[in-house]
Amino acid sequence: MRHLLSISDLNKSEAISILDTASELARVSDGAVKKLPTLRGRTIVNLFAEDSTRTRISFEAAAKRLSADVINFSAKGSSLSKGESLKDTAMTLQAMGADAVVIRHPASGAAQRLAENHWMSGSVVNAGDGTHEHPSQALLDAFTIRKHLGMGGSDLVGINVAIVGDILHSRVARSNVLLLSMLGAKITLVAPPTLLPVGIHNWPATVSYDFDSVIPHVDVVMMLRVQQERMSDLFFPNAREYSRYFGLNGERMAAMKKGAIVMHPGPMNRGLEISAEVADSARSVITEQVTNGVSVRMAILYVLLAGGALEVGSN
């Protein structure tokens, strides 16, 4: 595997192997070892054309724990904000000798463009492209679900997941639908009809407009962030009405199954899609998602960079 652009780049065993690798890395990091020499001498560039402090820090921590050199290249003050083309940026990174580029970009498909144009030779990791995908987020979500609810198996067979909110604009939802269904989970997408894409009927998920009818049947409630700019674009009448039908509050949480967990990719809009009571409850694994993010991203970088794919060594 050279790039991670979309969950569809992975088959089930590759996905599980990333999760297993992340488990081992988490144990190593939990113990005395804070820093591993594995990627010493490798250069990883965080190319962030869109603000996302948490994802950037998570990838940076992952790279540094594996001893890679990290260069941060963020939108503000960088050439990307001065209208430099993606191609020129890529060729600059190539000239700097980047072994991998972690890219966050507001345009769907930007990571794929970077990877498939021969502008640079390094690996490309999609850290969120427009409204397309966010594969590392889905992997850390799957990792977190497996850790809490996995019945000892390596996959997620038998687990029911509700993904709630702005499916239309969510790269987190797209990657999670692909990954969680591949791992055997049953997915229900819950949203107002305006925030579900046309053409969703072939997705490996069922659709519901009624959050309350879904809640008692799922093991995981994954809430999505409602972006401020959706408020003014006729997707729903106002924040209060959205909250009433699609927000996760204490009352709805009380209807959840025993042992069911609440997830959110962050950053949260407390009081809009999730109440403070829920976010801070014992069911919430939201801060743990952040912790797991580092291990999962270490595993991704390990799988992409630790091996020399071209040479196959004899025993």
Binding site: T21, E24, G307, V312, S314
Partner: protein
């Protein structure tokens, strides 16, 4: 292919190594056994049980995966990471015995020393190997050896253990490519 060690030879070698470890360390009180996955881990378990049957006490035993510390990662396809399990007593101030199946270039042991260094500071680090086939590339030497097997570089040494392979045997194969 020729058989270098039979199942019986292996059992005898491990018993001898166990005695040598006890002798060198004047008993088992300060010893920690760490096997290098995959087969070294099983050898460590076997040596551990031999020592406890001799001494009448359990020896802290664990595993140490060195994959993340290898210096040849770029030369091979990515490997799965195996578990590292350090006994709860830790390794600080202990006499750690690293256990591997085959001692060859010495690079695995160098990586193991790096890995240990990240975990703590043992009083001594010793090395036990079932087979030493020569061709060292680093200044590393085993303290306890089951059998010295002179080989050419083109040959490969194959270790089978009943826990994984269904039977115990060490053999030498010609130029496997």
């Amino acid at each position: 292919m020729s058989v270098a060690l039979s199942a019986q030879d292996i059992t005898r070698a491990l018993t001898r190594i166990s005695h040598e470890i006890l002798e060198k360390n004047q008993g088992s009180t300060n010893i920690v056994l760490l096997g290098i996955p995959t087969r070294g881990a099983h050898l460590a378990t076997r040596i551990s049980s031999i020592i406890s049957s001799i001494e009448g006490t359990d020896v802290p035993t664990g595993t140490l995966d060195i994959t993340l510390f290898r210096d040849d990662l770029r030369m091979r396809p990515p490997r799965a990471i195996m578990p590292t399990k350090i006994p709860t007593s830790g390794i600080e101030g202990k006499d750690v015995v690293l256990i591997d199946d085959v001692l060859f270039s010495g690079r695995t042991i160098r990586a193991a020393l790096d890995a240990l260094g990240e975990i703590g500071r043992p009083r001594t680090v010793q090395l036990a190997a079932l087979v030493d086939r020569g061709h060292r590339e680093l200044p590393i030497k085993a303290d306890f050896i089951g059998k010295n097997l002179p080989t050419s570089k083109s040959q490969s040494v194959k270790v089978l253990l009943s826990e994984i392979d269904g039977r115990d045997e060490v053999s030498i194969e010609e130029g496997v490519e």
